[in-house]
């Protein structure tokens, strides 16, 4: 098993998210996280799906996804040079005497403090999964109240693009 990151271009139609995610659950594949957003082309969305599966299973997933009428293109970014990022918001306990430490830590991770209240603050950090895990670990020391995170989004490095093949 291993993490695979798939970028899927889909037609922006009602139910398309259900079609894609439903296919994963129905065939017994587990989605670790999923992010959906726009592309340069109106009417086409890009989904980034992270799954934990062996290569044969991923091959079957890709084939099944390709059968969906609203799926236009699938790329596996895992084995090629690519960059991936997630965004994490952490609401952390911040008694006045700890704020300095938190700020210090945030700087190390290039995180930003985006909200401050008498006894908590919200820190925003982006990065790859490992970085976010490490950041969370550090924040635990202060007491995490709540987190919210996006799924991963990813692009190939260099000139390589994923384009829908409208003809």
């Amino acid at each position: 098993m291993g993490k695979r990151v798939l970028a899927i271009l889909v037609e922006d139609r009602p139910g398309v998210l259900t079609r894609v995610s439903g296919l994963f659950s129905r065939r017994g594949y587990n989605i670790q996280n999923i992010a959906v957003g726009r592309t340069m082309e109106p009417g086409i969305s890009r989904m980034t799906v992270t799954v934990d599966a062996d290569p044969l299973t991923v091959e079957q997933i890709v084939k099944q996804l390709n059968k969906q009428i609203n799926v236009l293109k699938i790329s596996d970014l895992t084995d090629e040079p690519s960059v991936g990022r997630e965004l994490l918001l952490v609401k952390v306990k911040a008694e006045p005497d700890k704020r300095g430490d938190i700020q210090q830590m945030a700087r190390t991770f290039r995180a930003r403090i985006i909200d401050l209240s008498p006894d908590s603050m919200i820190v925003e950090v982006t990065g790859n999964n490992e970085k976010l895990e490490a950041f969370l670990l550090m924040m635990q020391e202060f007491g995490i109240k709540e987190i919210a995170s996006t799924g991963k989004v990813a692009l190939f490095r260099g000139n390589k693009l994923i384009r829908e093949t409208r003809n």
């Binding site: 079609r19 079957q60 059968k67 969906q68 829908e164």
Partner: protein, 556 residues
């Protein structure tokens, strides 16, 4: 041209040369049904939506044209679910049109609202909820294109009630532009060359053919390839009829209730040429033991079937008929004489057999139905023992003559499917071989055959049990017959008569022939009730998840 939604539906169907639809009305399709009334579109009214959808499926399997179904919203739509799943599993082209509550009510739990596009998402090839009148013609064109091309399957269109009355500009597109849908038809030349080279070297090649041969219309090419190469053939339940029964290299059906020759040929083959089949577990048994020494070539239109259940050495994605034609064009025969002799000996020495002694045997009834139908019948079956006996003992010579729910195994499929086939071919002999259990799942359609005077001949193989389940209880649960007795079933002859059909019964061997003859000569619908040995088992049998050469029984 300005038309209402309902008028558009009929115009689309006309443009697609649809001459009959199967359906059942209700509140959300009143406007549509009013249009049917005005235009006089041929419509077969069933007595349950499940009957309508199976009939459309039977029509499609028998004729090769897509079957069209109408049903209302909510319960009408949900009653279709089993039939849609049945068609999906066997890749049968259907267009299902359901009514939906009016657009402003969608999502409010309105009266008779059901999210049928959500419900049928995993059992349709694609589905649509029409939201704007301008989309309707395009959606219909897409739906027909998707249902009938590539790997075929059911497509559902959900039509809100208010949209059926709304007016819009109508222009039916001549073709559909579907960006995310491009089936591959032509096989890869390099892969075909590789396959041919391996075939030429093979000493023990075997063709394993399935429903894909039937849907692509490749039965003649299949036979030619088998003849040119002297390659024996086994066909699955859904592939039955694509090879004539009495062809010397035809080995019958493989798998759980397959023939000795077919299962042993798979086991010993050094090359398995798989054509439009999908390695279903009822065929393969324990997959690790399936065709252990064979190079596996797999021809299929659906790339997702390749490598799904078994590792394939030479995949060829494409339309079966086109690929076979290309193979035939460049074909050179290998040396298979010894192998053919061996396979033919298996066939001769280990045929399917049963003993006709004591009670009337179900296999005998199937043989008599076969004999008296003169090889021209279309046969629909239900699911259970009678279905397997039909596959074993009825001699199918042409494609599209056995209509049976293979993938889903749907009891109650046979009778409505026979109705659909009879609608497609009013002058042919259509026989439904039913189980006493299965028949009761859609016996209400007796009203349909009587109403339309469809001369369907129903043969109930009445063993007073859910026989196939009883057989498993006998073999694997020490004979504990938990809820498999059909005590309380009606007198089927009187049931038929109550509907105004003819009913006949045979309980002894000598009555079987005369009853069948009388039924076949009778102009209208007839039900035959054959009281057969309640404890007869389907043999040979391979226990689930064991090797297909570990066959139990079938020796006498």
């Amino acid at each position: 041209m300005k038309l209402t939604g309902a008028e558009m539906v009929l115009a689309c169907l006309e443009a697609e040369n649809v001459d009959v639809v199967f359906g059942f009305p209700g509140g959300a399709v009143l406007t549509l049904y009013d249009e049917i009334y005005k235009k006089g579109l041929r419509h077969i009214l069933s007595r349950h939506e499940q009957g309508a959808v199976h009939a459309a499926d039977g029509y499609a399997r028998a004729s090769g044209r897509p079957g069209v179904v109408f049903a209302t919203s909510g319960p009408g739509a949900t009653n279709l679910v089993t039939g849609i799943a049945t068609a999906y599993m066997d890749s049968i082209p259907l267009i299902i049109i359901t009514g939906q509550v009016a657009r402003p009510f969608i999502g409010t739990d309105a009266f008779q609202e059901a999210d049928i596009t959500g419900i049928t998402l995993p059992i349709t090839k694609h589905n649509y909820l029409v939201k704007r009148i301008e989309e309707l013609p395009h959606i219909f064109k897409e739906a027909f294109t998707i249902a009938t091309t590539g790997r075929q399957g059911p497509v559902l269109i959900d039509l809100p009630k208010d949209l059926q009355a709304e007016e819009g500009e109508f222009h039916y597109p001549s073709r559909a532009e579907i960006y995310g849908y491009r089936p591959t038809y032509e096989g890869h030349q390099g892969q075909i060359a590789k396959a041919l080279a391996r075939l030429r070297k093979a000493k023990k090649p075997l063709i394993y053919a399935g429903g894909g041969v039937v849907s692509s219309g490749a039965h003649l090419e299949l036979l030619e390839l088998s003849q040119n190469g002297a390659i024996p053939v086994t066909t699955t339940l859904t592939g039955m009829g694509s090879i004539p029964y009495d062809y010397e290299l035809f080995l019958g059906m493989p798998g759980m209730h397959g023939t000795y020759a077919a299962n042993h040929a798979i086991n010993e083959s050094d090359l398995l040429l798989t054509i439009g089949a999908r390695f279903d577990d009822r065929v393969t048994g324990k997959i690790e033991h399936f065709a252990p020494d064979a190079c596996i070539i797999h021809i299929d239109i659906d790339p997702a079937e390749i490598g799904k259940n078994i590792a394939v050495h030479i995949p060829i994605v494409g339309d079966v008929r086109m690929v076979l034609r290309e193979m035939l064009r460049r074909f050179k025969k290998g040396e298979t004489e010894k192998w053919c002799a061996k396979v033919k000996a298996w066939k001769a020495e280990r045929p399917l057999r049963y003993k006709q002694e004591g009670h009337l045997k179900p296999q005998f009834v199937i043989e008599e139905l076969n004999r008296l139908s003169g090889g021209e019948a279309i046969v629909a079956t239900d699911v259970g023992q009678h279905q397997m006996w039909t596959a074993q003992y009825f001699q199918f010579n042409k494609p599209r003559t056995l209509l049976s729910s293979g993938g889903l195994g749907t009891m109650g499929y046979g009778f409505p499917a026979a109705i659909g086939a009879q609608v497609a071919f009013p002058d042919r002999l259509v026989v439904c071989i039913a189980g006493d259990g299965s028949f009761q799942m859609n016996s209400q359609e007796l009203a349909t055959v009587v109403h339309y005077q469809l001369p369907v001949k129903v043969a109930i193989i009445n063993n007073q049990y859910l026989g196939m389940v009883r057989q498993w209880q006998k073999m694997f649960y020490e004979g504990r017959y938990s809820h498999t007795s059909m005590d309380g079933s009606p007198d089927f002859v009187r049931l038929a008569e109550a509907y105004g059909a003819r009913g006949l019964r045979a309980t002894a061997i000598e009555e079987v022939g005369p009853v069948i003859e009388e039924a076949f000569q009778s102009p209208g619908p007839v039900l035959m009730d054959f009281h057969v040995d309640p404890e007869e088992n389907v043999l040979p049998m391979v226990a689930p998840n064991t090797s297909i050469v570990d066959m139990i029984g079938g020796e006498e």
